[in-house]
Amino acid sequence: MIKKYTAVLKINWIHALEYRANALVGVVAILSGLFIEYQIWNLIFLSQGVESIKGFSFQELMIFIFLSIMVGQLKSSWHTSGEMIEGIRTGDINKYLIRPISYFNYHFMMFIGVNSLYYTVYSLLLLVTIIVFPGLLFPSIINIIGFILALSISVFLSYSIYYIMICCAFWFGEVRAIIVAYNLSMIILSGQYIPIRLFPDNVLDIIKLTPLLYLVDFPVSIATGRMPIEDWGFNFIVSIGWCIIMWFIGSLVYNRGIRNYEAYGS
């Protein structure tokens, strides 16, 4: 069974390699995004004459935002979700219904496969950052392991949230607007451009009740050593809990949706 899905991963990995310009634009996006944030926060630190803001020195803040933009891109899906919605709308999903393959797992592998080129390029970028700014990222080996685990959870959680929204296409046909709106709001709300802990307290209190905390902030906090190791266990349990909840809701929505599905487009 694993072989079946790794084949999907491999195909999408090869496909992603054909479009190397995507990775280049991805790197431009990260560096350019970081550069703009650098300008804003530099102005704020200089004009306020402060050494740190909510425990972040300027350099620490930049590294945090840099990694947040990177994680934010790895967990976001434009291509796979677009293809899945199109599949439901046009009846292309039929082929998954008659084959011994899980719709969820197949597209999850596709989601990772499409982003695979970014994983490679961003890992190199990360390596360069670790060499240039020693001590600011991954204070110990355990942080690297923790980061990889938290990133995996973030990717799965993010995909599960997308999956729920995509399955709404069984009723509404076109849910692209919901995905676009979600992606746009997540850029800010998941903490890609401003760390969540700099948000106002009332907003932060609400975010803590949602899985948003585990999309970007959790892996980045582990990587930067900002989260004490004794808090990891609790957060890992909660994030896995969110994954199970989201996966369960997704399965429920899919099963209801597939009963409703009439394959109009096929």
Binding site: Y19, A21, N22, V25, V28, A29, S32, G33, I36, Q39, I40, L43, I44, S47, Q48, I53, F172, E174, A177, I178, V180, A181, L184, S185, I187, I188, L189, Y193, I194, L198, F199, P200
Partner: protein, 266 residues
């Protein structure tokens, strides 16, 4: 010349009528597009509200000025989408699929046709709402804003839209050289991010660059300056020069692209 201009205006009105009747068939999309706009505006507003919880002003721009700047940014986006938003990124699809052949056979200027064919009519609503909001905000702005400010703002704003169009269209034209440049939209959104921040956050050479070779500050920041701080005729002239240059470059690149176009997929 006058006759040609009249003909093109009539043609655009026909495009508008056609787009309106098409869009009214999908009323839900109409509402969802407005929903996406609202999320986009809300995210940016939230971003700056977090920034302003740490600082009182961003250079010359006070909090009130930044809110006006934001409304101008939204308005720029809205007007741009109205005229060009549904067209610029069709270029990639048309070239890849070979659909450009049909367009080139039409007895009308191909650049005009591809740039104006579809009108995003839903943007009228956001444009009206934002214009009303801008008028209200400028009315209650602490410093007086005179009629001349509005007049110069309108000219500068129109030129800003044309600069944005040129950038988006030039990036789209890269498909002629790369055969498939589906990441054009992403690249553009990253490049235009510089226009979505007040120019006062940039300094030195970068600020000069943003007002010249990479004129992102001329899209929203300069019109905002004209409205809030009063006319700067030297900058207005510079903007006119840049806009003319950008439009000429667009025509040149489009013609060069057409020479390279080999209609491979048709």
């Amino acid at each position: 010349m006058r006759l040609m201009a009249l003909r093109l205006i009539h043609l655009w009105l026909a495009f508008f009528r056609n787009s309106l009747s098409r869009n009214m068939e999908y009323k839900m999309n109409f509402i969802l597009d407005l929903f996406i706009d609202a999320i986009f505006y809300g995210s940016y507003f939230f971003f700056f509200s977090v920034i302003f919880s740490y600082v009182d002003s961003l250079g010359d721009f006070s909090k009130d000025a930044v809110i006006i700047f934001l409304i101008i940014t939204y308005l720029t986006d809205s007007v741009f989408v109205f005229f060009f938003g549904s067209n610029t990124f069709q270029v990639n699809r048309m070239v890849v699929k070979g659909d450009l052949d049909l367009l080139l056979l039409k007895p009308v200027n191909s650049l005009f046709f591809i740039s104006f064919r579809y009108v995003a009519t839903y943007s009228i609503i956001s444009t009206i709402l934002l214009s009303g909001l801008l008028l209200r905000l400028t009315y209650i702005y602490p410093a007086p804003i005179g009629f001349i400010n509005y007049l110069v703002f309108f000219i500068s704003f129109s030129m800003g839209i044309l600069i944005l169009y040129s950038l988006e269209f030039l990036v789209s034209c890269l498909v002629f050289w790369y055969k498939n440049f589906s990441v054009g939209g992403w690249l553009c959104s990253e490049l235009t991010k510089y226009s979505r921040r007040p120019d006062s956050i940039y300094s030195g050479t970068l600020q000069k660059l943003l007002f010249s070779f990479f004129p992102m500050a001329m899209i929203s920041s300069l019109p905002a300056r004209m409205l809030i701080f009063g006319p700067d005729y030297y900058m207005l002239l510079a903007q006119l020069f840049i806009t003319t240059l950008a439009l000429l470059l667009t025509i040149f690149v489009w013609n060069q692209g057409l020479i390279r176009y080999d209609s491979a997929s048709s």
